[in-house]
Subunit: 199 residues, 4 copies
DNA sequence: TATGAATGAGTATTCATTCAT
DNA sequence: TATGAATGAATACTCATTCAT
């Protein structure tokens, strides 16, 4: 009964995703502002005009990607909320999130989005929302860890989670520019975070 | 004899600086790729064609700015090499460098240069050189501090300095996107760094 | 038996009218060539594709409007053919037709159609047919007036009616561009027409 | 001394004129909105980009043409101000101006400009200024003619000149759409104008 | 050194129209 | 009849760069 409607809707959604994937790939390769709509269309195997049936503008594609980025933190939020010993949980999170941020393509795209966010408020909005969701979950974990004596009490405040994230992301981003060994970097980060949190 | 030549040389250097300042201002306002050469020329009160007497291309202007960025770390390197108690020195450096990185315009330009560095090796080179100069000086200080028992020995390795810089820079950059209070942020950074380094 | 068909026919005719009204409104607001089919569809509350069930092309919409224009002269033709003293009849016609041509929206649309008529023969055809229908009726009236001694004989020829219409239309159109007072203009037109026709 | 500067200036002016001529030709052929900048560039034997060194936008080209139109009335103004018997002067003017307005290309361009003037105030401004300059000169002549008893006094008021111009222009424009004989039309116009003005 | 006209490929976006559903 | 996704050529305009002066 409703299958023909759904079919069309599903097809349209697929196209949207297709286009967004192509856009992401292009932006990674050449940067947001260097990428032309033609490139995206070609890569998505979609006609140029049809791009605009799915996204009203190039800018909106970046918003789409920023929102994808936003939802990409969900698994990490879940990870932070599991009922596991906080120190164990933090260690696992740190590794997983660093690995996530170290992905070369993701890092490049992240930088481009961040750069655009400095001038476009609606990008900034999505960008920061993803961040604060994650920071809140991490803050909860840290306080739980202080309570359970996993972490020393002295330095944990509402900024700590943000700083840990800054550290992980910053290190991963830099690691993407120079080609330093991620494993060593990772071990150092872990050491630093836990050193800061110890009693 | 050579004074007329010098005068000309001096004038030319001034022009170059003038142009670079204008370029920086434009890049901050609208981003590297959105800025046109005409804009820069107008802002520098220089004719469009004359721009090319000072920089062979737009790309070279960005290199010029990356090199300026490079030399902007000099005072911080000096600061790190003073003969002061390492913990005092580090505290002062942390504050000063964070403040430096928190400047809104500088942060925007920094992000743009970083984004460009991901795709342009000659930008990356300057960008990373500035970074490693600073990291080396900081590493020296940290080891000095370990020797003098200012810092606990356990976690200091060759990556530590980089991570501290990642933390400071990352936090400052994020602070520039959302408009969080830099003073509070700064206190938290200091706390975190020293917590990580304590015995 | 044929009522369901008729219902459908009636509905279709209504849609057609709906679309034509929307097109007219759009053309008035933004001009024929600046108006997009999407705009018209939205304004007519009709889907884009469905537009083409009623008009095979945008061009045909303009033809439709030119034909509407054509039929809009019917009441004036009737007015000219009434059995009234020619001078009275002419005075009434002049006033009514000037008023009709002075309507701002109609004037804009009229100009657009005229401009298009210069390059599209099938528009020109409709455009001129409306005109000649009116001119013929007016010519009849003028000759009747000459016979009845309402008007002086000397200048009335087959072009006179056209010129009177040119005068009324031209003045009304110009009055629509600058915003001069139509009442004064109208009185002057009347004076001029009757001065030309007097003995 | 100043010749090199002048040479460049002269060359630039020539180019501007060249471009404006090409634009006029294109607008006549295909209409303002159907003409693309590439067409104009090609016709003017100028590169596309260079067009924008001479006119900031397509719109400004139309303004340029409207201003040219404006200055094209100068000879007619002069004609109206000669020290000749008013009735003779008017007859000559009527003929000359009608001939001028009957030029097919000029008429087409005139219509396009008029249509654009309905939506663009800065076009309307130039358009109406040309008109009112002419109307003022004609008004002077008419009053002079009334004084000298060339014309009957009754109907001449401040609108009369405008109406005479409306008549001439309207008739010429219509004559350009249908292909009626201009000579006959011209004779009828003259008859009508003088009939209206006679004692 | 300084100027700005000249170049033509490149930009994001819109267009009228078609067509599978 | 009705829908709106799909098409790709066309739109006005901007770009970094060159070059004659």
């Amino acid at each position: 009964m409703d299958s023909p409607l759904n079919n069309r809707e599903i097809a349209s959604r697929k196209r949207r995703e297709q286009v967004l994937d192509a856009a992401a790939a292009c932006f990674v390769e050449r940067g947001f502002h260097q990428t032309g709509m033609r490139e995206i269309a070609k890569r998505a195997s979609v006609s140029l005009g049809n791009l605009y049936n799915h996204f009203p503008s190039k800018h909106d594609m970046l918003i789409g990607l920023a929102e994808l980025e936003l939802s990409s933190v969900d698994p990490f939020v879940e990870m932070l909320m599991r009922n596991v010993r906080p120190s164990v949980c933090l260690r696992e999170f740190t590794r997983a999130y660093f690995q996530h941020c170290s992905d070369h393509d993701a890092a490049i795209l992240y930088l481009d989005i961040a750069a655009e966010a400095m001038r476009e408020p609606d990008i900034a909005e999505r960008f920061l929302q993803a961040r604060s969701t994650l920071a809140e979950a991490l803050t909860s974990l840290l306080f739980k860890g202080v309570e359970s004596k996993d972490f020393g009490p002295s330095i944990v405040d509402t900024s700590t989670a943000d700083l840990i994230l800054d550290l992980i992301e910053g290190a991963a981003a830099r690691g993407s520019i120079d080609a330093s060994k991620p494993d060593m970097l990772m071990a150092s980060i872990e050491a630093m975070v836990f050193a800061a949190l110890r009693h």
